[in-house]
């Protein structure tokens, strides 16, 4: 009898460990997993022929890019091509080229008429020599229809203190990091061997953009920013633990050439709806600062880590989704002692580049177990978004290396 009970228990345990995360979606949407266990899958891109490209942050089969192909269109991606000997985050398709970034450079690969990569082992180097000091090193990329390449260069710093993340260390004035990071740089997608000298600092005061996308409805660049840390830990006299978990907002901006979003001097407080002076620069939680800095379109709860942005331009989803923004949140690590939040994909309804209503959670349940106090316990962490040629939405996960396809059917 005891033996049977033991076997039963192990059977139950086995089943539990094999369980899939149950992803919840609005009515009419369905989700299918197209690949799993591919490691740290960061951003993704889907080609017009349906090929799915994954940029990896750890080498898989010794390579940093995977192409998944479903040649017979039966829904099973039977063909996997691995290439690129570097890790990174950014990936994009433009004309007959695939673009991919390492943490310091951008490369491109020509595609032939059959959509095969002409020379997977010898990419052309489009941009090189970008700041990579480990913190906020990922280089997200987006390309506009005119062939301009936008690259995020995250600040290797929390808030530009003399000594990074050290309690009591003052903010540097002016912040020297902004000369080469903490913003978006613009290059040409069709020119090789560019670096800072050939690029333009397109927008500044952006601590660490991970999601960025070009909006073809209004022809502007939009970004999602990871806000600063340590308000409560370094200034407990100004911020309690709850305020530290909720401040500052994670932000979503439209950025035009020359714009400044205010980092490190200010952060966005979504409760006061103000740009508040950073305490490292003399702020007290109330004083405003950076009057010339732009304001965000949306302030999301603090620390949720918006890792991907995608404007929906397809025809498959209902009308309310057209030209709206999907944002994949990676989930927080620094809301202790509260539980971590934000392992989900949200939708912001938009028209003409402006939100037309409140943001809503579109896809949830990625942690696989409800609330987690350590992000390590989340089964999946949303990280990349892409739209397929049929208007389906693809979501990647850099915890377990899953990619899903979300489709809509009115029936």
């Amino acid at each position: 009898m005891r033996k049977i009970i033991v076997s039963l228990i192990s059977l139950i345990t086995l089943q539990a460990s094999a369980q899939q995360a149950d992803i919840q979606l609005p009515k009419g949407f369905a989700i299918t997993n197209i690949t799993k266990d591919k490691g740290r899958v960061r951003h993704i891109a889907v080609h017009s022929n349906g090929d799915v490209y994954l940029k990896l942050e750890n080498l898989r089969y010794g390579k940093g890019i995977l192409r998944l192909r479903d040649a017979d269109k039966d829904g099973v991606y039977e063909d996997t091509l691995a290439f690129g000997n570097y890790i990174g985050t950014g990936i994009a398709l433009h004309k007959n080229y695939l673009y991919a970034s390492s943490n310091s450079a951008v490369f491109r690969y020509q595609l032939d008429a059959a959509n095969n990569i002409v020379n997977p082992d010898q990419p052309e180097r489009v941009v090189y020599g970008l700041v990579d000091r480990r913190q906020h090193a990922s280089k997200s990329i987006a390309i506009d229809p005119k062939g301009n390449l936008y690259v995020n260069i995250g600040a290797p710093s929390n808030v530009c203190q003399e000594r990074d993340r050290m309690q009591g260390s003052k903010g540097m004035m002016p912040c020297p990091i902004l000369d080469s990071a903490g913003g978006i740089w613009k290059f040409r997608a069709d020119k090789l061997e560019q670096s800072y000298a050939e690029g333009v600092r397109y927008a500044t005061g952006l601590r660490n953009v991970v999601g960025l996308d070009w909006n073809t409805e209004v022809n502007e660049l939009f970004v999602t920013v990871h806000g600063r840390d340590m308000l409560y830990q370094h200034f407990p006299e100004l911020y309690d633990a709850k305020a530290g978990a909720e401040l500052p907002a994670e932000t979503f901006y439209m950025v035009k050439q020359g714009d400044n979003a205010g980092w490190p001097y200010v952060y966005w407080d979504p409760f006061q709806n103000k740009k508040i002076l950073s305490p490292e620069y003399g702020g007290d939680g109330k004083k405003e600062g950076a009057p010339d800095a732009i304001k965000p379109l949306v302030g999301f709860p603090g620390h949720l880590a918006p890792n991907a942005l995608l404007f929906y331009t397809g025809n498959q989803f209902p009308e309310k989704y057209r030209n709206g923004a999907f944002i994949a949140f990676h989930g927080s690590w620094n809301r202790n002692p509260q539980v971590q939040e934000g392992f989900y994909v949200v939708f912001v309804p938009m028209k003409n580049g402006q939100p037309t209503g409140d943001w809503e959670i579109f896809a949830d349940g990625f942690t696989g177990k409800g609330k987690v106090s350590n992000p390590r316990d989340a089964m999946h962490r949303p990280c990349g978004l892409a739209m397929g040629p049929d208007g389906s939405l693809y979501v990647s996960d850099d915890a377990k290396g899953y990619v899903w396809k979300i489709s809509y059917s009115a029936k």
Binding site: R134, R163, D164, R165, M166, Q167, W333, S373, N374, R376
Partner: protein, 135 residues
């Protein structure tokens, strides 16, 4: 009388060496509060760190091994490629040199005896000695 002194000094030596080795409960209690204040946001409540960003504190030689190296990381901070138990971590650790010797000893004694760890205490004198080397 002489005998008594010998016994007493032996006892004292015993107590001193005992306190060098066995973590003191009061130090661990103080260390736990300091951990919550200074360390927990990055290293997490369970000491397991955050994927890609902050390394775990349990079952790693960085914590239970060489005391001088551990004290040095807290005093100087750390921002260089770091692999712990086969995983790489990217976020820098700040210097906590603004904490005093007793506080650093307490918090390190706490982490050396939490999250599955069991290691000897760290004393304020050991922190002081490392601090002197840095200056």
């Amino acid at each position: 009388m002489r005998k008594l002194i010998v016994v007493l000094s032996l006892l004292t030596v015993g107590i001193v060496s005992q306190s060098m080795q066995t973590p003191n409960a009061a130090s661990i209690t103080r260390g736990k509060a300091l951990y919550a204040q200074y360390c927990m946001s990055c290293h997490q409540a369970d000491g397991a760190g955050a994927p890609r960003m902050t390394p775990p504190l349990g079952k790693t030689d960085y914590v239970t091994g060489d005391k001088a190296r551990l004290i040095g990381i807290v005093l100087k901070g750390l921002n260089e490629p770091l692999e712990v138990n086969g995983e790489e971590y990217f976020n820098p650790m700040a210097s906590f040199a603004h904490m005093n010797d007793q506080q650093i000893a307490d918090v390190l004694t706490y982490i050396r005896n939490s999250f599955g760890n069991k290691a000897s205490a760290i004393t304020p004198a050991e922190v002081k000695a490392q601090r002197a080397k840095i200056k």
